[in-house]
């Protein structure tokens, strides 16, 4: 026990004396959250659109005004004829053109179906779909208000309710993702580097010749990084909560406990990597290549797992991050308790046990 404390103290010196790495470690989560939160977003604001208003009536004016008032759109130009549309898109000035036909107002009054045409530049399909959805929603809401509860020509109206994230904020998706990736990468990479560094410097040999038990060496190495990883998780959570108003609806204790479990899983993966590698560079490369890409691509962080090919769906099951993202989204956004996530928790626990067992085995073989 005393030896363990001495070892942890030594490891803490290493961490705090390497100021540059420490700065990167604590700064990176902040930069990532802010980047993901502000820059990489599916929301579109102030998109430039063009209007071709042939009806020139009160209705079209009102709708155009709502477009600008929504904050999503900015009127770039009022077009004069249909032939302008093509020219306008080619110049790349706008992403969307709304065309109000000449008979719009008359048709509405006579209860004849009225058509407003939305033309989008689909070179970027996601943006085009999003813009069309925004515009349709604005027009739909206007028409509904106009009818004052009277029967609308189109008999069926769908009412959409977005649960847990009513404003469809992408931050809600990115914060859990960023926490997951940071915890995974930092834990696995930092431990694998910390252990291989001793191998490279030759101090590992001296430690192995000393009466220290291998388990003491590993636990002593890992504990400071658990603390560091949790500090990083806290930074991300605080930023999410205070900068992006991300809610934590479930129990905070449960959230922290799950974070600790995931950190331990990742750390044990890092130890496993370090038992198999001799240099820091190889350890870092393996951590990055073997962990980062699958974690980002297959965890459901960016790409929904449901829409992947069957093979990748099956493969995604062995990615620890997948299970942690499910857990963390449940706790933070849905506010569910442990009874809803015990299965995922158990899977992570099993993975951690497996990695720890495998690395202890490997570590001993190296000793022999």
């Amino acid at each position: 026990m005393k030896q363990l404390l001495i070892f942890i103290r030594k490891e803490t010196y290493h961490i705090f004396r390497d100021k540059r790495t420490l700065l990167i470690l604590l700064g990176m989560p902040m930069v990532q959250v802010l980047l993901f939160g502000f820059a990489i977003t599916n929301e579109i604001t102030n998109a430039r659109i063009a209007i071709l208003d042939q009806s020139k009536g009160e209705m079209s004016r009102n709708i155009i005004q709502r477009f600008t008032a929504s904050g999503y759109f900015e009127i770039d130009e009022n077009l004069q004829s249909l032939s302008d549309i093509e020219r306008h898109f080619r110049q790349g000035k706008t992403k969307l053109v709304a065309v109000f036909p000449p008979q719009l107002e008359e048709n509405m009054k006579r209860n004849v179906p009225a058509k407003i045409q939305l033309v989008a530049d689909a070179t970027d399909p996601n943006t085009a779909t999003t813009l069309i959805n925004y515009a349709s929603a604005i027009i739909g809401r206007y028409l509904q208000e106009q009818s004052h509860g009277q029967a609308v020509p189109l008999a069926i109206n769908t009412e959409v309710k977005m649960l847990y994230n009513p404003r469809l904020k992408s931050v809600y998706m990115f914060v859990p993702g960023v926490i997951t990736i940071i915890l995974m990468l930092m834990s696995a990479m930092m431990t694998s580097i910390a252990i291989t560094r001793e191998k490279e410097l030759g101090t590992m040999e001296v430690l192995l010749v000393s009466p220290l038990r291998p388990s003491t060496i590993i636990i002593g190495k890992v504990i400071p990084y658990i603390v560091l990883a949790l500090a990083m998780a806290a930074i991300v959570l605080l930023l999410g909560a205070f900068v992006f108003n991300m809610p934590i609806r479930g129990s905070l204790v449960l959230l922290i406990a799950e974070c600790v479990l995931f950190v331990i899983t990742s750390l044990s993966l890092g130890i496993l990597i370090s038992t198999r590698t001799e240099t820091q560079q190889v350890a870092m490369l393996i951590s990055l290549m073997a962990l980062m890409l699958p974690t980002i691509l297959l965890s459901g962080f960016i790409f929904p797992i449901e829409s992947m090919p069957k093979v990748l769906q099956i493969l995604s099951n062995i990615i620890p991050a997948k299970w942690f993202i499910i857990i963390i989204k449940n706790v933070m956004l849905r506010g569910t308790g442990f009874s809803f996530i015990w299965k995922e928790t158990l899977i992570l626990l099993g993975m951690a046990m497996f990695f720890i067992a495998a690395s202890i085995r490997n570590f001993k073989i190296r000793l022999a």
Partner: protein, 245 residues
């Protein structure tokens, strides 16, 4: 008196390659035993088998009276080791290194404090005790590393090329430290490239191609090979192309 180290046909193979081939020798207590050989002759592998880092493929060996196969934990408490690579933490201060290594060998705090004073004073490093090891010259670091490796008063200390890259004056001082430790009864097992250092040893063994080619006192070896210096003995035994006898 029981010998400090005995090796009987100790062998280590890596696949088809035999790094250490049936070496047999004894090291007496309190002796300075030189372990010579060209690069790749198997010196480091032999040391690693004796201090428990590597499991022998065949043969028998005892260190401090304990078996290297089954009693490595007991051996570890009784030996000190200074590896070929630098074995202190460069981003820790002199004091912190002493505290750390004293601590992992389970020395009581009071003992560590006493040793710290003595050790730092003995090396004349009082003004630098709170400096990072990284800032010290190589020779000082090696002397410090040696002092730390014998801090827990081991029965046997293994030194794997301890004076590599160190200037002649510091090497001289280093050997004075080794003599002092040996006079206090410690057994010193040292590998080296420097033939003048071989002359300082009580007995030397010269390894070539994984075998012990010769083993005796420096004086006897020189007579045996009609050489005037250990350098000539060494070249005679390890010259490329020569079959190990």
């Amino acid at each position: 008196m029981l010998p400090a180290i005995t090796a009987d046909k100790l062998t280590k193979r890596f696949g088809d390659f035999t790094a250490v081939n049936q070496i047999t020798f004894e090291v007496k207590k309190g002796e300075i035993f030189g372990f010579l050989g060209a690069n790749g002759a198997g010196k480091t592998t032999a040391i690693r088998m004796l201090n428990g880092l590597s499991r022998p493929t065949a043969g028998k060996a005892q260190v401090a009276g304990f078996d290297v196969y089954r009693q490595t934990e007991k051996i570890k408490r009784r030996i000190g080791y200074m590896s070929q690579k630098f074995s202190l933490y460069e981003d820790l201060t002199v004091r912190e290194n002493i505290q750390f290594y004293g601590g992992i060998y389970g020395l009581p705090l009071a003992e560590i404090r006493r040793q710290m004073k003595q050790l730092v004073a003995g090396l004349g490093m009082e003004p630098y005790a709170r400096n990072l090891v990284k800032s010290l010259p190589l020779g000082w670091r090696q002397k410090l590393a040696f002092s730390i490796s014998i801090m827990h008063n081991p029965e046997i200390v293994f030194l794997d090329e301890p004076t590599g890259g160190v200037d002649p004056i510091t090497r001289r001082q280093f050997w004075e430290m080794i003599y002092k430790a040996a006079n206090e009864g410690m057994t010193v097992f040292v590998t080296t490239h420097y033939m003048d250092e071989a002359e300082y040893c009580n007995r030397v063994s010269i390894m070539a191609d994984g075998r012990i080619a010769a083993l005796d006192t420096p004086h006897a070896l020189k007579e045996q090979f009609h050489a005037t210096s250990m350098n000539d003995v060494f070249l005679n035994l390890t010259r490329p192309g020569r079959q190990a006898s």
